[in-house]
Symmetry: C2
Subunit: 437 residues, 2 copies
């Protein structure tokens, strides 16, 4: 490329693409002063050419993204179109043409990351993806670069703003799940079809990407054990509040040293977090990712996990990096990713909160305790109160000491089969390291 101008082709012009084009216009002078590079939006590929797009020069628009990627006058490609198949083909074509790519596409990376990283490496250009994981939070760069030599054993975060908004509302206003979801939808924090968010799938894609770079192994969305927030109840929230916890949807990647060597686990599920843990203070639609490294200890990165302007800020940071690297003839590298060796989720060892409704009569507790004991599961703390005196129903809230998930599942099956147990209404894991073994 001309050493002083970086011509950018943008694929997609939704919220992030529009914000990015505006941000480049506002910040080009600063970038030029700090790096000597003039950023220039050279083309914007859109699906509908005739839609009104305020702030975007109509002469830049095209409905042919393949032509943008192939155009020799384009130096850097920004992929903010979303979707998987088309985006994958365009990113691969751009890399093959020697153009660095900045992508905000978490779904694509969580499915095809390893293939794309390898393509970037063999083309000798950048594939940068800060905006794909946690919106505006600088997280990928610190993990890839600052902590490259740090032995990381835990990445755990709140990486979905919609579910954190819903859970924060349930916690602070006492709303039930359905009401909190409806409110989030009416305020634009949740989509009409909220499945990807409330089902935990969006968080799963993000933690797969984060775990890949933190542990240096290939992990995809399919490797993530996922439970969303649709079964969270006001009872869970009330239990958390009484016992010094906040209930959060956490995405968690762990590195385990087992007798069989190093294994990884990656999961998303509702989790009880102690109120004095830094993640507990992350409210509303904010995101935060907590990282533990052997030398550095506990780190946390906090900020807006979505939204046009914050995500555009992350795109711009990566575009400047890619353009500077291109001028220098260098590129960033994820490094070779090893194959993952997944720990069977049944082998995860966690403390759990278990909420039951049982017959309110003498001896029931002894029966339950016996069932737990038979499976080697022990009680760390317990609450009991009468839920409905007329129906003679009592409510029991247990926290168990950390136990193998397989044993916990077997225990739950055994409890369900007990005659005095009417229902098991709550099964929520506790953040590892909080309840002693």
């Amino acid at each position: 490329m001309d050493s002083s101008v970086a011509r950018i082709g943008v694929l997609g012009c939704g919220t992030v693409g529009t914000a990015f084009v505006g941000l480049v216009a506002r910040q080009a002078a600063t970038v030029r002063a700090r790096t000597g590079l003039a950023l220039e939006i050279a083309a914007v590929a859109v699906r509908e050419l005739d839609r009104d797009r305020p702030g975007i020069d109509p002469s830049l628009l095209t409905d042919d993204p393949a032509a943008v990627v192939a155009d020799p006058a384009i130096d850097v490609v920004v992929e903010v179109m979303g979707g998987i198949d088309d985006a994958r083909g365009l990113v691969l074509a751009a890399l093959a043409a020697g153009k660095p790519v900045v992508t905000a596409n978490k779904a694509l990376l969580a499915v095809s990351g390893a293939e794309l990283f390898a393509a970037a490496e063999s083309a000798g250009v950048d594939l940068l993806f800060e905006p794909a994981v946690a919106g505006g939070i600088p997280l990928v760069r610190p993990l890839r670069e600052s902590l490259l030599a740090e032995p990381i054993d835990l990445v755990v975060g709140i990486v979905n703003g919609t579910t954190n908004y819903i859970l924060t509302q349930m916690t602070e206003s006492g709303a039930g799940y359905a009401d909190a979801l409806a409110e989030a939808q009416s305020l634009g924090f949740a989509e009409a079809d909220p499945t990807a968010d409330v089902g935990g799938h969006d968080a799963a894609a993000k933690i797969a990407i984060l775990a890949s770079i933190a542990f240096g192994v290939v992990l995809t969305s399919d490797d993530v054990d996922v439970e969303g927030i649709t079964a969270v109840t006001a009872r869970d929230i009330a239990f958390a509040d009484r016992h010094g916890f906040v209930l959060k949807l956490l995405a968690m990647a762990e590195r385990h040293e087992t007798s069989d060597g190093v294994r990884q686990s990656v999961r998303v599920h509702p989790t009880l977090v102690p109120v004095d843990h830094p993640l507990a203070a992350v409210r509303g639609s904010f995101n935060a990712v907590f990282v533990h490294g052997d030398a550095v200890g506990d780190l946390m990165f906090y900020g807006p996990g979505a939204g046009g302007a914050p995500t555009a800020s992350a795109v711009l940071g990566d575009v400047v990096d890619a353009a500077v690297n291109l001028r220098r003839g260098t590129h960033a590298s994820v490094g070779a990713l090893a194959d993952a060796r997944l720990l069977d989720p049944a082998e995860l060892i966690d403390a759990w909160y278990i909420g039951l409704e049982v017959d309110d009569r003498p001896g029931v507790l002894a029966v339950i305790a016996a069932a737990l004991g038979e499976h080697g599961v022990s009680i760390a703390s317990m609450d009991q109160d009468v839920a409905d005196p007329d129906a003679r129903v009592a409510r029991i809230d247990l926290v168990i000491h950390p136990a193998r998930t397989a044993d916990v599942r077997a225990t739950l099956d055994a409890l369900r089969a007990l005659e005095p147990v009417r229902s098991i209404d709550a099964t929520v894991r506790v953040l590892p390291g909080v309840v002693g073994t």
Copy 2:
């Protein structure tokens, strides 16, 4: 340098230097796998050659740091010796010899940063300093790179672990300042002479460095308006607690758009932070830095702000970066720093908490309110109670709406001169943006 080996000369072998040498030994294989670079500690310059240093090969020790810097076999210099004059000369000599330098020396950078950055730029090598600012927290790299194009208008943080430990103890145990300091000293969180920490000077050096890179201007320790925590009382803490605040020592850099153009302010002082602000949840000796950018919004970086292992982790991240850049023939750049245009601290506009002891008799409040009104200062909220019925002393706690510091100072002088005012016991600023104008 040999393209596959990076030979490191370490200047200083205190807590950080020792931890760094150990970390390189443990992590060299990981670094090699991810970057192709073999890190090798080639020399360690110490003051006392004959001290016992477990884990360090005695054949690497020398008491001649200038020889380490001059040695053509050394590729990268790590400066963890501290102090200013000697360190400055050695860093300049290393840069002049074409060797990248990683430094943990905040005092040096806060005094001579601009000179050293210019020397690195003209030598075309890296001067990296992640470990100088907030121990293990990746903060300098995100600010320099991820947020290079982001218009940052606020950097505010808890950047001194000693004072945060003391204030956390005062808040959680109700201890007075002297007792909390003594406890921190006995546990090793505060030094025998705690002046640099409790006086705010350590925080001042760090915010001067952060502000320089966030705003792209030359700022030194001398530009920072500093007030430490030695005057913080249990009364201040109790007021904060009653009113939904936590008292923190904040280091704060702001970019102001004035009628006279852009100006910067940099300051350190005790500050009331709302309990639901992310900085309020930063307890004990942890550090956190909150950054506000126009596009990205609110970010926070949290972690251990000091300690051998975390700081060594930051040194290692920078050493890998410097070695990779050296192999590629590139270097990171702070960019040209402009001259700062400091806002006169008297022009800062803040809400304040003011605590008085006054005569407990009718009409006193009217006198005080009149004095405030004369200076254009208005009350946002007020508490009054009787401190000592026998002595007829009442206590008044005020929060004033944001006002020019010059006006607040004049108001305080006027209040002191009022006959019914016995003393002004508390003057603590509130985090900007919290109390409405």
